[in-house]
Every structure is written in structure tokens, then in C-alpha cells.
Amino acid sequence: MEARALVCPGCGGSVQLRGMTQTASAVCIQCLSIIDTTTPELRIIQQFMAAQRTLPLIPLGTRGKLRGDLYEAIGFQTRQIEVDGMAYEWREYVLFNPYKGFRYLSEYDGHWNDILPIKGLPIPTSGGVSYLNESYKHFQTATAETTYVMGEFPWKVMVGEKADCTDYVSPPRMLSSEKSGNEITWSIGEYMTGAQIAEAFQLKTALPDARGIYANQPSPFGNSVGSSWTLAVFLIAALAGVMVLSSMFMSQKEVFRQKYSFFPRTGVENSFVTSVFPLEGRTTNVELSVNTSLLNQWLYFNFALINDDTGEAYDFGREVSYYNGRDSDGAWSEGSASDTVLIPSIPPGRYYLRVEPEVDAASISSARGVNYEIVLRRDVPFNIPFGIAALLLLIPPVFTTLRKTRFEQARWQESDHAPAASDDDDSDSGDDD
């Protein structure tokens, strides 16, 4: 593609034409005149004022490969919308390939879109539109105004011209309609990063980093939420399998059972030892259950499970208390007359139990006493750790879901459908951006 040049009818300056005969207007950068290039007399459509000349991030005349085709940047414009008194400005580039025609790039806060006009008409749906079997959600409707132009355009561009723009998103794509007068044009954009643009156009200067989250920016979490929940289901099923299998293979064998009666007497030794019983198999737990006849009393047991061969003792204490009654609130009860505890990791061997009951002597008739039964079982399943593990397994998918939700909230914060609860954040994030 070779650039032609024309003489600006306003200032006599040279205006380069890169769009062959396919552009309709060109801008003289010297006098800021917009020239109608479709007529031989080169009529000036508009002469505009610009307090400051905006430099495009992709210099006009730069060529780059987009989607495998070579394009040249031939036009540049800045446009803005006003929302709640705040002006939001973005930049658009006109790209041209003599065989492929025009395509466009837009850039806002470091977020880029590769845009092509579409020929078909999207079908309106509730909350958006559908195009090529893909649903797009309505994002924003606003009136865009052209604020600055450079280069060439395939239409008669004018500074100050306004169009009603409506964006619909289905990341990473965005459908946009522009209504100007009676004409509506539709285009489809696909999100690109600054790095992709810099690579495509072999830009020497680095493009600004993206700030905030753009309307059709693809979520970094993609389908990871769904797949992480699928994995969570798989892992929890595996955990449940381990739990069921271990319950099936644990012997839960009763190794000791004996009934006792306790008559508290002061000055008399209350402790005693049981007969020796074997704990077989591997190192595993022992469940001790105490079932008592307590009523409105407490009983405290000092237990020591002692290995008869090695003299190793495992000391622990258990309280059993049970109270009930009736008052102005109705019937009440507190505690339980029985207690169960799991003694962890006891090696195999011959053991006996030293039992030392304690009681508030005044509360128990020494004549009636308390009856209780001690039962020991070996190798008993304990399901609470499996429940804790299941909760721990849920942390990654819950965390991923929360992060994705926050990402989407940030995306929609900038839309016409901003979450109402985050109105305050809206202004904050606007400042940040």
C-alpha cells in the first residue's frame, strides 16, 4: 500500500491518504480541517478546535498483523460518554487492508477490542440480544460524542457528532450498536490485551497497563469455578469412600464390660483396677463408655489405661453429670448420664484400667450410691475428622467462586446494571480507575 497525498484546501498542507479510494474523509493535522475526499474539489466538511492534540498509541501508518492479515492504522478518533456527570473517554483506530477492508480497534484504560462491522441483525432477547447462537447481556447505553479525529475514515467524520451506543457483552466478545439519525450499525468486538496489540504492530513503546476490569474482559477464572466444584464433588466422594471402607474394616471389638456401684465414703480409698484385657491388632484407638444411673448429680472419673507389660499409662479424666427439673420456663435438663470418649493410638498389649471415681459426697446417699457400667471397645471409627476434611476440601472452590463473583461484580459495576449494594464502591473504584 502506498500513501497518496492531497493538498489541504484550508491551509495548503499535505494530507496523506492511505485508504486508497475507500475512505470518505481525511483530517489535515496542520489546520484541523476535515476534508471530504469523495469529491474532486475536496470540500472542507468541518474545521475543529483542539486545545491539545492527542497522540495515538498506534502511530498512523503503522502496519500490524491481526488475525493473520496485514492492516495499516489510517485513522484515529477519541470519543466520550458522560455518565453521572463524569466523562469517560476512549480511543478508536481505523485499520485498513485493501483486500479485507476496514476493521477497528478501541482502547479504554489499557483494554483493547478488535472490532468488525457485522452484516446480520442480532435478535433481541430478554435482557440482551442473541447473535450467531450466542447470548449477549445488555451492558450499557449512552450517547457517545466524537471529541478528536486524525487520519482517514470510511465515513464523513465530524468532531462533535453524537451517536447512541448500546453495548452487549458475552466475554470475550461485545456487540455494539450505534444509532445516528435513522441509521443503526452493528459491530462485534473481541477483547485483546495491550501486549497482543503491541506484538501485532511491533510497537517500540510499551502500551499502558490495563486498569480496572473492562466490560468484555474475559474472566481469569473462566470455567475454573465449575471444574473446581466438579473436582470437589470427586474428592468428597473419595473421602466418603475412605470413611465407609474404614468403618467396614474397623473391628469395633468389645474388649471389656463391667458394672460397678459406687458408695462414697470419706477416708476410704475409692480407686480400683479392672482385670487385665487384651488390646489386639495394630496401634489404634479404644473407645471408653460410661453409663451411669446419675440424676441431679455429678461424678468425676480419673482413668488410667495401663499396659500391664510395659507399665505405660494413659491418664485422662471424664466428668459425667446429669440434671433435670422443672421451673417457670418449663421442664429442663442438662448434661447426660453417660459419656463416651475415644482414647487415641493405643499400641497392642495387655492392659487394665485404673478407675478412681470422685463425687460430691453430700449429693449422694452413701446407702444408695451410684451404679455405672464401663465398656471398652477397640478400633472404633471416628467420623468428625472426615467432616472437617470435607469442609477443608470445599475451601478452594468456595474461594474461586468468591473471586469470580468479585470479578464479575467489578465488571458490572461500570454498567447500567451496577449492583445496588455497591453504590459507594462505584464512586471509589471510579476514582481509582
Partner: protein, 62 residues
Amino acid sequence: MIKHPFYLAYGLMLISAVGWTEYRGYGSINLNEVKKVPKTIRDNPGSYRSHYGYVPRYFGGK
């Protein structure tokens, strides 16, 4: 699963850990372990002083 190798590894590690500790026998209590308890305790249980014993306590009702 391939998409979440760290989560998969974390999950399998957690399941293995729970499975292993279940095999070794969980417990729901803290024990005080005493070594070399004399055999005479069987004849004189009162000579043993429990780690948990002789602490004043009251477990009252409502």
C-alpha cells in the same frame, strides 16, 4: 482435574492424611502419658496419683 493440579494434590493429601490417622486410631481426648508405672498399682490402686485427680471441681445443674 488437570485444570486444578494443586487442588487435586491438596485434596488427595488431605484424604490420605485423614485415612492414615483413621487407620492409626483417632481420639477425642488429650492424654497424659506416664512411663514405667510400677506393677504394684494392681495391688494398691491408691498408690497411683492421677494427673487429673484432686482438682477441686463442681458440676452444678441449673
